[in-house]
C-alpha cells in the first residue's frame, strides 16, 4: 500500500496540474501497474479543482476501467473534494 500525502505538494488548494501529472506519472500509474493499492490523502487540503482531479485520476480510470476505484482510496476529503472526485469518476465511467 502506497500513501500520497498531497498537502506538502499542493498546500491547501490542489489546482496545479503539473503536480497532478507528476503524481500520476511517477507514483499512481506505476503503483497501479504493479496492482498495488494506493491511498491519496487530502489531509490539510481544503479545496481542489476539477482540472486537478481529472489530471490526477482520469488516466487510471480510462486505462483500468471502474475496477481501479477498488485500488485507489481517497482519504480525508472534505465535502467539496468528495463531490469533485465523484464528478470526475462518474463522467469517466460514462465516457
Amino acid at each position: 500500500m502506497i500513501t500520497i500525502l498531497l498537502q506538502p505538494l499542493v498546500r491547501d488548494f490542489a489546482e496545479n496540474k503539473d503536480i497532478a501529472r507528476d503524481i500520476r506519472e511517477k507514483t499512481l500509474m506505476p503503483a497501479l501497474a504493479r496492482a498495488d493499492k494506493i491511498t491519496i490523502d487530502f489531509a490539510g487540503v481544503n479545496g481542489a479543482t476539477q482540472s486537478f482531479i481529472h489530471a490526477l485520476i482520469s488516466d487510471a480510470l480510462r486505462k483500468y476501467g471502474s475496477d481501479v476505484l477498488e485500488h485507489i482510496i481517497f482519504r480525508n476529503c472534505n465535502d467539496t473534494i468528495r463531490v469533485i472526485i465523484t464528478i470526475v469518476t462518474e463522467y469517466m465511467q460514462e465516457s
Binding site: F13, G47, Q50, S51, S58, D59, I87, Y91, S95
Partner: protein, 324 residues
C-alpha cells in the same frame, strides 16, 4: 487602437463600452478617460493591460486622467502596465480587504503563487474564497494551457463592500476560443464557439468523451454554472462573440430559479456575434457574497447537470434501429 474609459462600465452595461473600442491601427494605443469620474469593472482593466503588451513601447498614448477617481487606476497598476507615468500622486495603502491589482500570469508557478496570495488580499471568509479561488484558478489555467498568448493572462479583482460583491476580470491576447476549439470542433463563428466552450465535456484537445489525460472540457461549464446558481453576472468575450449570463431573476424556489442548463443559450443571457474583434479572450464575473450556496451543494447541482448532459450526448450518437 483607441479606448475611452467611460464614466461607468460594469458587467451589466459593458456592451456599449466594448462596442466603442477601436481596434484599428494595432501598432498604437491611445487611452482616454472621462474627465469627471471613472468607475469600471476589473475586466476592463485586464483588457487594457493585455492590449498594451501587444503595442511597441513608445506607441502608447495615455493622457493624464483628470477624474477624481484617477488614483484608483494608479493603485490597480494600470499605468504601470501601460508603461506611462500618470503623474497621479498616490499614497500606497495596504491593499488587504479591498482589491487585487492587475497581475500578469505567464505560467503555472505564477498562477499557484497568485491564487495563494490573492485570497488573503480580499479578506473573505473561507466559504466565499473557496469558490473565488476555484474560478480564478480555472480561468487562468485555461489561458496558460489554451490561449497560446506569449503575454499570458492579466487578472484584477475588487471587493465592493456596499454591494458585498467581488468583481473579477481576466483577459488575454491569445488565439481566442474559436481557434482553440478548432483543433477538435469546427464552429461557424465566435459566438458558436463560446456556446460550445460553455457546454460540459467540450475541449479543444479532443472530440473523445471524457477528454484527454489532461483536459475534460469541464472548466468553463463549471464556472458558468457557479455564476448561474449564485445569480451572478458572467461575461465572456472572444473574437467578435460576446455572451453575458444575466441574473436569472425567475420567481419560484431557489432550485427552480437557478436551474442549471448544459446549453448556455438555455440560460437567461444576452449575446452578440458582431462585437469589435477581440483577438483573445476576456472574462468578467461578479460574485455577490450575500446569498451563496455552500460550495459543495452547488457542485452537487453541477454534478447532476454534467452527468445528464454527458449521457444525453452519448445517447444522441446511438445507432437507431431500422423499422420498416
Amino acid at each position: 487602437m483607441k479606448i475611452h474609459l467611460p464614466n461607468s462600465a460594469w458587467l451589466g452595461n459593458i456592451d456599449p463600452f466594448l462596442r466603442s473600442i477601436d481596434f484599428s491601427k494595432p501598432e498604437t494605443l491611445n487611452v482616454t478617460a472621462d474627465k469627471k469620474w471613472i468607475s469600471v469593472h476589473p475586466m476592463i482593466l485586464a483588457i487594457i493591460a493585455s492590449l498594451a503588451q501587444t503595442v511597441p513601447k513608445g506607441n502608447i498614448l495615455c493622457e493624464p486622467f483628470e477624474a477624481r477617481s484617477a488614483h484608483y487606476f494608479e493603485r490597480m497598476k494600470l499605468f504601470h502596465f501601460l508603461g506611462v507615468n500618470s503623474d497621479t500622486p498616490v499614497i500606497e495603502h495596504d491593499p488587504s480587504g479591498r482589491f487585487v491589482p492587475l497581475t500578469q500570469i505567464k505560467n503555472s508557478e505564477e498562477l499557484s503563487a497568485f491564487v495563494e496570495e490573492a485570497s488573503p488580499l480580499l479578506h473573505l471568509e473561507s466559504h466565499y474564497s473557496e469558490s473565488i479561488r476555484y474560478i480564478v484558478s480555472e480561468l487562468l489555467r485555461n489561458v496558460i494551457e489554451h490561449s497560446e498568448s506569449p503575454q499570458g493572462a492579466f487578472v484584477a479583482a475588487q471587493y465592493y463592500p456596499k454591494s458585498n460583491t467581488i468583481r473579477i476580470g481576466i483577459a488575454d491576447t491569445g488565439i481566442g476560443i474559436r481557434t482553440s476549439l478548432a483543433h477538435s470542433h469546427k464552429t461557424q463563428d465566435d459566438i458558436s464557439a463560446i456556446r460550445l466552450a460553455l457546454m460540459p465535456g467540450i475541449t479543444g484537445t479532443t472530440r473523445r468523451d471524457g477528454g484527454t489525460t489532461e483536459n475534460a472540457g469541464a472548466g468553463l461549464f463549471f464556472i458558468k454554472s457557479i455564476a448561474a446558481v449564485n445569480d451572478d453576472f458572467f461575461v465572456i468575450y472572444s473574437g467578435n462573440g460576446f455572451f453575458k449570463l444575466l441574473k436569472q431573476n425567475i420567481s419560484g424556489s431557489r432550485k427552480q430559479r437557478n436551474k442549471l442548463h448544459s446549453d448556455p443559450f438555455d440560460d437567461r443571457h444576452s449575446m452578440y456575434a458582431d462585437m469589435p474583434t477581440w483577438n483573445g479572450t476576456a472574462v468578467g464575473i461578479d460574485m455577490a457574497l450575500d446569498d451563496h450556496e455552500a460550495f459543495s451543494t452547488l457542485l452537487n447541482d453541477i454534478r447532476n447537470t454534467y452527468g445528464h448532459a454527458v449521457r444525453e450526448r452519448k445517447k444522441a450518437r446511438y445507432k437507431k434501429p431500422l423499422f420498416i
